[in-house]
Each structure stands twice: as C-alpha cells, then as structure tokens.
Amino acid sequence: MNSRIRAGLIGGIFGLLISLVSGGQIAYLAGIIAGAIASQLAAQEEDVASVRAGIQLGLRAGLVAGALTALGVFIRGFLINPLVNVSADASVVFMLGLGGLVMAGVAGVVFGAIRGLPSPQNRFGTLLAFGLLAVAYPFLDSLLNLRFMNEVIPVLIFILMALGLNIVVGYAGLLDLGYAAFFAIGAYTTGMLASPHFGISMPFWIVIWIAAAVAALFGILLGAPTLPLRGDYLAIVTLGFGEIVPIAANNLDNVTISILGVTLLENFDLTGGPRGINPINRPSLFGYAFEPSQPIPWYFLILGLIVFSIFFILRLRNSRLGRAWSAMREDELAASAMGINLVRTKLLAFAMGATFSGFAGAFYGSFISAITPASFGFDVSVILLCMVILGGLGNITGVILGGLIIQFADRLFLPQLGDVVQGLLQNSNIEVLKEINFKTDFRTMLFGLTLVIMMLVRPEGLVPNERRRRELHADDEATAHERQTLYDAEQA
C-alpha cells in the first residue's frame, strides 16, 4: 500500500514540476507522464498478479500522481499567475487540474493493466504502450499546442548517441570521454558526401550507412591504441581523441601534403575550417522532401532510427559478443583466461558504439543542414556521459529516461523555470530582487544542481541494470551470486 503511494508521489513530482513550470495545457501531458511513471514504479515494487490487480495498483498510484500534478496546476494558476499579474480564470485552471488528474489516472490504469499481463506479454505491452505514446506525441503536441516538436528532435539525437555510448561504457565498461569525436566524424562524412562542398550529393539513405561505417572504422582506428590501457588512462586517451578531432576539423581547410618535397595536394579544403560545411542536403523519400518547417517527418525518422538502434542493441547485448563485453567489464583477466579475445571484443565495442554516433551525426548534419567544428566539443561528450550514467549504466530504458530528463531540463524546463522565477522577481516589491536576471544568471547552476541532486537521489542511476545492481550488492545479499550463476546458465 505504502509503495503505491510512494511511487505515486515520485511520479507526481514530475507532473507537479512540469505543470507548475511550463503551465497551460501541458498539464494533460504532465498527467500522462506522471501516471505512467507512478504506475511503472509501483509495479516494480510489488508483483502484479493479474490485470485486475494491475488496474487497481495503477489507479491508486496514478491518482496520487495526478493529485500532485493538479496541485502543480493550481499553484501555477492560483498562486503564481496572480503574482505576475496574470488574470486567472478559475474555471480554466480547474479544468486543467482535473484534466491532469484524469490523465494521470488513465495512464496509471493502462500501464498497470499491462503490467498485470502474463510474463512475456507485459514487457511487450509496456514497450508497445511507450512506443504508441512516442508515435502519438506529435499529435498530442499539436492538439495541446505545446510547440515542443523543434526541441524534441535535438533531444532525440542526443538519446541516439547516448544509446551508442551505453554500449561502450555500460556494456563493455570502457570509460569514453571523447565520444563526440565519432559524432563529428559521422556528421562530417555526411557533410562531405551530401552537399555542394565537394559537389557530391548522395542520397541521405545511403550516406547514413556510409557515415555509420566510417564512424565505426574510426572507432577501430582510435580504439586500437587504447588496447593496453585501463580505466581512467583509457578515459584520458579517449578525451584526447575527442579534443583532436574538432581541432583537426577546424584546421583542415587548407591541407597541403608533400612527401619528400613532392607536393601531392595543395591548399585542399577538406573540412571547411571554422566555417564548416553548409548547406547539407536534406533527405527526401519517394519525392517527399524533408523540410525544416515540418518537424513531424524528421521526428519519425529519428524515432525510427532509435527504434532500429534499440532493437539492434538488444540483439547485440544478448549475443555472444554482448556476453563477452560484460565478462570483460567485470574482469579482463578472467575473461581473457576464458578464451575471450580481448582485442577483438574491445575494438568491436568501440566500433559498435561509434556506429550509432555515426547515425546520429548523419541525421544531425542533414537536420541542421550545417556543421561547424564547435558543435562537437568536450561538452557534448560530457553530457552524453551524464545521460548514460544518470539513467542507469547498461540499461536502455534508463539511458533513454536519463537522456530525456537531462536534455529537456537543459533545453526546455530550466529556461521556463527561469521565466517563471524571473516573473516573480520582477513583480516583487523588493528592488534588489528586480536587479537579478534569473533566467540567464542562474541557468548553469540549476543545471548543475539537477545533475547532483538526481545522482544523490539515485546513485545507481534512475533505472539500474538488474544484473549490475545485483553485482553491486553482492556483499549484502548472499544469494545474489547464486542467482547470478543461475542467470548466466540460463543465458548460455
């Protein structure tokens, strides 16, 4: 009973924050999110025996979450809005709050019911439900007039990359601080093959594969020197590559190669220098050209790429290679003693990780239609790492969730929070407070605090990898090892 309320409260916090900060019709969406999270969390805490039990569980958790969401709406509507001189129409606010509550309840029931299905179906159903939510999002967005579509696409690009980084860091346990290098390589490959830069314009659908392949190749090339390295020494070398690639991109606009005095190439513009490559061709499908003004096709394209990647990554994880990665992650020496070829396994981890970054780079290049070296700096690598670790190393759901939270916090939530607080300060009667430009002065701090607090609250990540969690608490739970061996036996 308690766990349901707690789950509802956790989910509700998301709903409350979203409806409080963003305001308006997002309350409905906030309700759905809160309800879904609450229901999922509740179902994780206790076993759900039947659909009926699931509905009950989901309803309670969802309603608790919905109540908090509604609270957020009311605080916004009745407390904050009057303070910033917005005339609040009580009936509208009331409707929104009620809407949030109902949506949370419905989402809770739906997800609870799915969790109540027999074993294989419940996983499939949950995936399907989230998938449908993702597919339905653009329509919700336009129905609710949220206008988040343009923010959502960059977020999804980052998530695609985080999925790739998860292979390297989460599965293979290789700390990579220079992952943006492969993103850059993918994007530059696209730029070179599908733009007026070299006059080559290959179709996007071919370029994206080439970009992935080139990124994978560089994954192997850059991975090779790191083979003898471990832990943080590996991290610093990858960081080095992450620094070298953008520098090279910035400086290779004037390449002159001469061997022993014989000039092979003179003043060749390879990367466009600081100007980058612009414009890059956009994809077109059966005569339909993708345009920046129409975000929905782009949304489905990147969503498709993500779904494809998830499918591929899941297959990889359960393959022989995937098991070799976890073996290597746990103990290199033991793994190599068991006959795992460390060289091959490590290089494949880098290559596979880089592949998805290559996809992301290709998509990014044609979506933005321009690339500059400055877009691929260390900050990208660091944020990706935060997304992966905060979400839960080695867990795809976690990585996606972590990515959504961090990216939305940075791109949408914190600026809006800044607006709200700024509005409050402006309308306060204290002169000193009016001097503060909250939106721009505190943004970085809020972002940093988000990272710290979330990490402190969930040290193992939002959705920890089951296997990992057991390993970490091996000392506490005597049975963990037994279960582990059983699990491994099953897998084999």
């Binding site: 860091v169 070398v237 970085t444």
Partner: protein
C-alpha cells in the same frame, strides 16, 4: 626488427600484423615527419636564444600546471574519483583571493613592507577557504556516493563544476565599494589581477652575451611561481611520505577496508585529502591569478582538463608523476606553439599523451596496480 617479430610467431600463416604496423609506422615517419622534424631541429639550433626562452616558458607554465595537477592526483589516489570540480575550486580560489586583494586595496604601488605580508595572509586565507569548500563538496556531493557505482561521483563532480562555474559568474556581481573595483563593471568580463609581483627581467645583466637582439627573459614572476610551486610540491611530498597522517592516507589509498581495520579513520583521512587538495587549488588560484593576471569564471574547466591530463600522464595518484606530467605538458605546449603552430598545440599535446600512454600504459611513473572494481 621485422624478422624478429615474425620469428616469434609460432603459428603458421598468421598475418604478422605487428610487423606490418611497425613497418607502416617507420614509413609514415620517414615520409611525413622526418622533413618537418629536421626543419624544427634546424630552427632550434640556429636560434638557441629563442629555444631557451621557450624552454623557460614551458618550465614555468609546467610548474603551475603541476600545482593544480597535485590536487587532482591527491584526491584520485585516495578515492579514485576524477574530480572534475577541482578546476572550478581553483577558479573560485582565484576569485576569492582577488576579492581579498581588493578588500586590502593592494596594488602595484603598495610598498613591499606591507604588500608581502598581506599577500601571504591572502594566500593563507584563500587556501583555508578553498580547503573548506572542497571538503564541503566532498561531504555533500561525493560522500553519499562512496559505495555507489564507480562513475556516479563523476557525474556528481560534473554537476558541482557547473554549479561552481555559475558561482564564479555571480561573483562578478560583487561590486561592493569595499572591494575597490577589482570586479570591474561587467560581471561576465574577465577581471584583471593587479600586478603584485614585478615583471622585471632577472636575466637583464646577461644582455650582450647573446649579441644585439637580446630577448631572453626570466622574470621575478616566473621565479615566484617556480619557487612557490616547488615548495608546495616538496611540502606535500614530505607530508605524505614522512608523517603518520600521510602514511594513513597512503594506506587508505591502497585498501580502504584494510586500513579501516587497522584503526585508520577512513572518513577523516578522505576529508583531509580533500582539504589538502582544496588548499592546493586555492594556492594555485591565487598564484596563477597573479601570474597570468586574468580571472574569469570559465577559467577552471580548461585548467582542470590540462592538469588532469598532466596527472594522468605522470601516473595518476603519484605526486612526483603529477609534477613530471605538468612540466612535460608545459614544455610540449611551448615548443609546439613555437615550432609547429598554435592552432595544433592541443592536438600535439594530446597526441604525445596518447603515444606515451601506449608505451607506458600506467603513466610515466605509475605503478601497475590492478584497478579496483
């Protein structure tokens, strides 16, 4: 060399990748690098004065990089955490000391009799403040994560560094009259540190030895940086190697559980490491602030990255290694700026880092310690 490698392959018809790689490397070296490297050597020999000057610059820069690297390595040695916030603590140290400089209204006109004691006082206060800050960060952001997955505190550290960077930005708003205008008029703009140590050339008496165009310089500033850095390095080294607390720190670094069993208060030891690391960062902040003359809130990240690299290069966790790594990075950067091109310097530094680490996977002075899970 080639035949040797082939001979060591017992299996038949194995493609001799190793040999191929070596031959390729040699060919690459001869074709692409030999001529430029020869050119650089010629430049060095024909203008020894410039080479000497660049070496001196590299040495001094290396000294302060090493000083920041020390804090990294100290903390890493004990908790195995890449403390990304360290660079930001250094930045806060610079701001803190600059504020005090303003408060005491020190300038390049203050007589030395009052300037030097005040500077020492500021140094001590800054070290104290950053030590406490660093320990507080450990207490609130890292301690709870000590038994979490290895990478969790890394993210926490990144978060803290964002927060501190913002604190640095807000610091620029502290334009109180008491600070005598050290914060300037624009919060975001870099702040100028008054020139408290003279920039006069100590080598001026040598003029004439090198002919007409005498450009060799080694200033009082350079000297102070080297002396202070060296003093702090030696003091820290002695502390860790000779004292009982230092021994406890080393023991905690080696095996936390075992040292706890031996009666060492692990929490206290870790706090002490953070206190020391913070104090070093504060000292570096003040020293580099005075040396470079600029304090800006974005200062920490790059400095942190550079010195982290230095620490790893020398063998992370190793105090002498951090010093060696710092010096090496200072020298490589200076020479690359001069003889290759400033725009490639970072790439050169990291390139050499990669090569060194490939040859010595545990850093220059690192020991081969099996990584803890």
């Amino acid at each position: 060399m080639a035949s040797e490698a082939v001979g060591s392959n017992f299996q038949k018809r194995v493609i001799p990748w190793r040999t191929i790689a070596r031959v390729a490397l040699v060919v690459f070296f001869v074709l692409f690098l030999a001529v430029p490297l020869f050119n650089i050597l010629v430049q060095m020999v024909t203008n020894p004065q410039l080479l000497l000057r660049q070496l001196l610059i590299g040495l001094t820069n290396g000294a302060y990089i090493a000083l920041i690297a020390l804090g990294y390595t100290l903390v890493y040695g004990i908790v195995e955490l890449i403390n990304f916030a360290h660079g930001e603590v250094y930045m806060i140290g610079a701001f803190f000391s600059l504020t005090l400089v303003g408060l005491f209204s020190l300038s390049d006109e203050t007589p030395y009799a009052t300037r030097i004691p005040l500077m020492l006082l500021i140094l001590v206060l800054t070290m104290l403040a950053t030590a406490l800050l660093n320990a507080a960060i450990e207490r609130f952001a890292y301690r709870r994560l000590r038994n979490a997955p290895r990478l969790a505190p890394l993210i926490s550290a990144i978060g803290v560094s964002f927060v501190l960077q913002n604190v640095g930005l807000l610091w620029g708003y502290l334009r109180f009259p008491a600070f005598n205008g050290v914060m300037g008029s624009n919060a975001v703009a870099p702040k100028s540190y008054p020139q408290l140590i003279p920039n006069d050339n100590l080598l001026a008496p040598l003029e004439g030895v090198f002919g007409e165009a005498f450009r060799l310089r080694f200033t009082t500033k350079d000297l102070v940086v080297i002396v202070v850095s060296a003093t702090l390095l030696i003091a820290l080294y002695t502390f860790v190697q000779r004292t009982k607390i230092g021994k406890a720190m080393r023991a905690t670094a080696q095996d936390r559980d075992a040292s706890a069993l031996m009666g060492i208060d692990v929490n206290r030891t870790i706090t002490l490491a953070f206190l020391l690391g913070g104090a070093l960062a504060g000292a570096a902040g003040m020293l580099v602030g005075m040396y470079n003359g600029t304090v800006v809130y974005t200062l920490g990240f790059t400095a942190g990255l550079r010195s982290f690299t230095a620490a790893v290069l020398g063998g992370i966790g190793n105090i002498l290694g951090a010093m060696l790594g710092g010096l090496l990075i200072g020298l490589i950067s200076a020479l690359s700026d001069q003889y290759i091109s400033t725009e490639w310097t970072n790439a050169v530094v990291f390139g050499i880092l990669v090569i060194i680490l490939v040859l010595r996977p545990n850093g220059l002075l690192g020991e081969d310690v099996q990584q803890k899970a």
